[in-house]
Amino acid sequence: MRSAFFAALTTLAERDDRIHLIVGDLGFGVVETFARRFPDRFLNAGVAEQNMTGVAVGMALSGKIVFTYSIANFPVLRCLEQIRNDVCYHNANVKVVAVGGGLAYGSLGASHHATEDLAVMRSLPGMVVVAPGDPIETDLATAAVAAHSGPCYLRLGRAGEAKVHQAGINFELGKAVEVRDGEDLTIVSTGGMLQTAVQVSDRLQVQGLNARVLSMHTLQPLDHAALSSALRDTGAIFTLEEHSIIGGLGGAVAEFVAESCQAPFTFKRFGLPPTFSCVSGSQEFLREKNNLTAEPLAALIRSALQKERQLTTQQV
């Protein structure tokens, strides 16, 4: 996702000289191309995220489209009040970009686990929150946030994720991408869990359950229409995210379905417990430890559906 972002940004900057990139002294090996090609539109603000964000606002209010870039929580939580008061309140055309969303920097320790960012960012007025699911979505999301006038948060995974989509998907901010259709249940995924979501649906299919898979790349504004259809057509929604179980995709979907659905439905959130990891571990290790891999997820979904159906049968 990281490479896709920088490739897209460089292409966009060729066409639009309002685009500026400010980094917080991170991005070794990936920012150089942009910096060389657009030296007067690149800035390394140093290890100073509060000032980086304020500078971005000052530049954006002078007519520029400013991307701030750093890793994990640094461009988000370290300067959260600057994002709220300065970016959002002034509707500044600033795009906050964090690479390493979720557990991408797993082994670096809990300081580098960006696992509450979606909850925090989606609560800010005027903020568009985007977590693309693969490099193809990242490419399209980068163009979409650049074209959107106003604050955006772009949460990327790491480098080297596999493509889930074929090229040529229809990407629109606030509109989920249906990766596959199904009538028995819906898996709603955000960010880099998309590949796992597809793997889960493969496993369920073998067992006779056809899962619809939605890539909910935009958390704010949330695609209510896609969720309504999912409830109506499948009666069961499972959310999947590499983020705390509190307030992220699962929270956002729960808020919507709890207030909107008339008929009984099955709903379950899959994510991370709201605790700090107490052991070192790679992204793969930590996902496994938290049941965020295809096999346990498929089993949990199957048992949730069975339990629901038994209950329904008993009631009948």
Binding site: G46, N51, N85
Partner: protein, 277 residues
Amino acid sequence: MSLNSLESADLSELARRIRIQATHMIHRAKSSHLGSGLSMADLLAVLYARILRVNPARPDWPDRDRFILSKGHACAPLYAILAERGFFPLEWLDRFYQDGAPLAGHATHVNVPGIEISTGSLGHGLPIACGMALAAKRDRKSYRVFALLSDGECDEGSNWEAILFAPHHALDNLVVIVDYNKIQSLGTVKDVLGLEPFVAKWQSFGWSVQEIDGHNLPAIESALSIVPPEKDKPTCIIAHTIKGKGVSFMEDQLLWHYRSPDAAEFAKALNELGELA
């Protein structure tokens, strides 16, 4: 007061007027920070009468000078001087802090012409000013950026990030004015978190620094008239001021950071400041 008469207005009369307006506003609203406003009234008078290239008829004129009041809690005299200059009607001041009115208790830009940036949380103004100054440099524009900071807010780390940043990028179109009235929320600056040697700190970070008496109008005008005083360096003007300046019983008193004048205090203050002409 029209724009033209303001240009030629006696500066001390203008400063007196906005002190009176702020006292009225804060008394009426039963709000705070009168001492913080009175200490910077002379700075505002010089800025808006003599220094800032702004146009009340076109508050978003792209080539205007930018002014950011980073000490947003002291907004009453800023609203007053914007009204005096014609950015919005003087009557708006009567509804400062009131339910449903545009002028909130910290500098607010929404629907308020002339307020460049909303502030209120300290340490936000200077980084934004740096971004505006850098944009002007990159766009080869000649506008200048002025940020007025309190001394207390120099406790904020975000300011020191910006104080490192501006000289590194040779932002000589940026002017910081510190309203150094030596008193912050809960005590004197010296006792809460000392800033001294303050001038030496700014100088060592690479700023062109001047110390002035922040109530000496010719000295303020002289310090702000030439930007930059040193090429390739941002400017810092340390303005030594007196909290509550102009009302004897408020001067240099911690109490008047928060206290709102009651009826007797209000009458006494107006007696000292005089009435609006």
